[in-house]
C-alpha cells in the first residue's frame, strides 16, 4: 500500500466517495447500529442464476480473522481492515432477464435507511446502464459506524451492509487481491485492425 497507490486512489475517486473514505477512519465508537433487516429473498434466490448470500456476525468474523495468515501481507492487511467490524451481510443475485427482482424489496431497504441516524451519501442513476447505486452511512456523533450499499442493475441486485467501522481506502488498496490479481482496466474502444500475416 504505497503513497502512489493512495494518490491514484484519490484521483480516481470523486469527492463524495473520498469524503466517505475520510469519514471511515476507524475510531473507538459508541455502539454501532443494528444490522439492516433484510427482505425475505428466498423466492428471489430461486430465480437467480447466481446468488451470493453471506452473513458474518462478530463471532464468524473473529473465526475468519483467526485463519488469516499474519505473515502474509495481504492477509494481514485484510485483518487490519476488518478489525473494527461487527458484521458483514451480503446478498447479491444475478438473473438471466432484466429487472425480474421486485422493487418492493429495494423500497423496503430504502425505508429503513430513511430513518434518523442514516444518511445517504451517494445516490446516482445511470440511464445508459439502467443502474441505480445508493450508498448510506450511519453516523454517530459525526463518525461513521455503518455502511449500506444498494445497487440495482438490470440483471443484478446487490445489498451490502457493514456494521462497524471500515477504512474504505484500505479496502480499495486491496482490490484485485481478493482472488484474482487486478488486470489493467481496458476501457478503450475495440482493438484496431492488425496487418494480415502478423
Amino acid at each position: 500500500m504505497t503513497s502512489s497507490t493512495t494518490a491514484s486512489f484519490a484521483r480516481r475517486w470523486p469527492l463524495p466517495l473520498a469524503l466517505l473514505a475520510v469519514l471511515f477512519v476507524p475510531v473507538a465508537l459508541a455502539g454501532p447500529p443494528a444490522p439492516l433487516k433484510l427482505p425475505d429473498l428466498e423466492a428471489l434466490a430461486a430465480k437467480a442464476t447466481e446468488s451470493v448470500d453471506i452473513t458474518l456476525d462478530a463471532a464468524l468474523l473473529g473465526t475468519a480473522a483467526a485463519f488469516l495468515d499474519p505473515s502474509d501481507p495481504e492477509d494481514a492487511a485484510t485483518r487490519e481492515l476488518i478489525g473494527g467490524l461487527k458484521g458483514i451481510y451480503v446478498r447479491s443475485y444475478t438473473f438471466d432477464k432484466d429487472f425480474v427482482y421486485p422493487s418492493a424489496a429495494v423500497e423496503m431497504l430504502r425505508k429503513q435507511l430513511a430513518t434518523p441516524g442514516w444518511e445517504r451519501l451517494v445516490g446516482v442513476r445511470s440511464a445508459k446502464e439502467r443502474t441505480t447505486v445508493d450508498i448510506y452511512v450511519s453516523l454517530d456523533h459525526g463518525q461513521a459506524n455503518g455502511l449500506a450499499i444498494i445497487t440495482s442493475e438490470p440483471r443484478e441486485f446487490t445489498i451490502v451492509n457493514i456494521v462497524g467501522s471500515i477504512d474504505l481506502r484500505k479496502l480499495h488498496q486491496l482490490e484485485g487481491k481478493f482472488g484474482v490479481p487486478k488486470l489493467p482496466l481496458q476501457e478503450s474502444p475495440p482493438a484496431p485492425e492488425k496487418p494480415a500475416g502478423k
Binding site: R12, W13, P14, P16, L17, E50, V52, I54, L56, L60, L61, T63, A64, A65, A66, F67, L68, T78, L81, I82, I88, V90, S92, V122, V124, R125, S126, A127, K128, E129, T131, V133, I135, I149, T151, E153, T158, V160, I162, L168, L171, H172, L174, E175, G176, F178, G179, V180, K182, L183, L185, Q186, E187
Partner: protein
C-alpha cells in the same frame, strides 16, 4: 473488463453431469472392493473385551479430537472464504458507484444521464 471476463468464465465453467448411470458404475466397481472401513469383530473373552474397550476409547478419543480439529479448520477456512468474497463484492459495488458518478460528471449538462 476484468469482472466481465470472470463472469464469462464462471458461466462457461458451470459443472455438467457425467451421465445418469455414473453412480451405478461407481457402485459396481466398489462392489468388488473389500469393506476397508468395516468395524472389527469383538473378542469373546472378558479380558479381551476390557482391553478392546479401553483401546477403542483411546482411539475414539483421538479420532474425535482429530475430527474436531479438522472440522474447526474447515469451518475457519469457509468463514475466511466468505469474508474475502464479501469484501470483493463490496469493492466491486463501490467501483460501480465510482463509475456511475464519473459518468455523470463527464456527461454534458443536458444529457439526462
Amino acid at each position: 473488463m476484468n469482472h466481465d471476463l470472470e463472469r464469462r468464465l464462471r458461466a462457461a465453467l458451470r459443472p455438467v453431469d457425467p451421465g445418469d448411470d455414473f453412480s451405478a458404475k461407481v457402485l459396481a466397481r466398489t462392489a468388488k472392493e473389500p469393506a476397508h472401513f468395516a468395524r472389527p469383530p469383538r473378542s469373546p473373552a472378558v479380558a479381551g473385551w476390557l482391553a478392546f474397550g479401553l483401546a477403542t476409547c483411546v482411539v475414539l478419543g483421538l479420532l474425535l479430537a482429530h475430527q474436531w480439529q479438522v472440522r474447526r479448520t474447515q469451518q475457519g477456512l469457509e468463514a475466511r472464504r466468505q469474508l474475502i468474497e464479501a469484501l470483493r463484492v463490496t469493492d466491486q459495488k463501490l467501483d460501480l458507484a465510482n463509475r456511475v458518478v464519473n459518468e455523470k460528471e463527464r456527461a454534458p449538462p443536458d444529457s439526462g444521464a
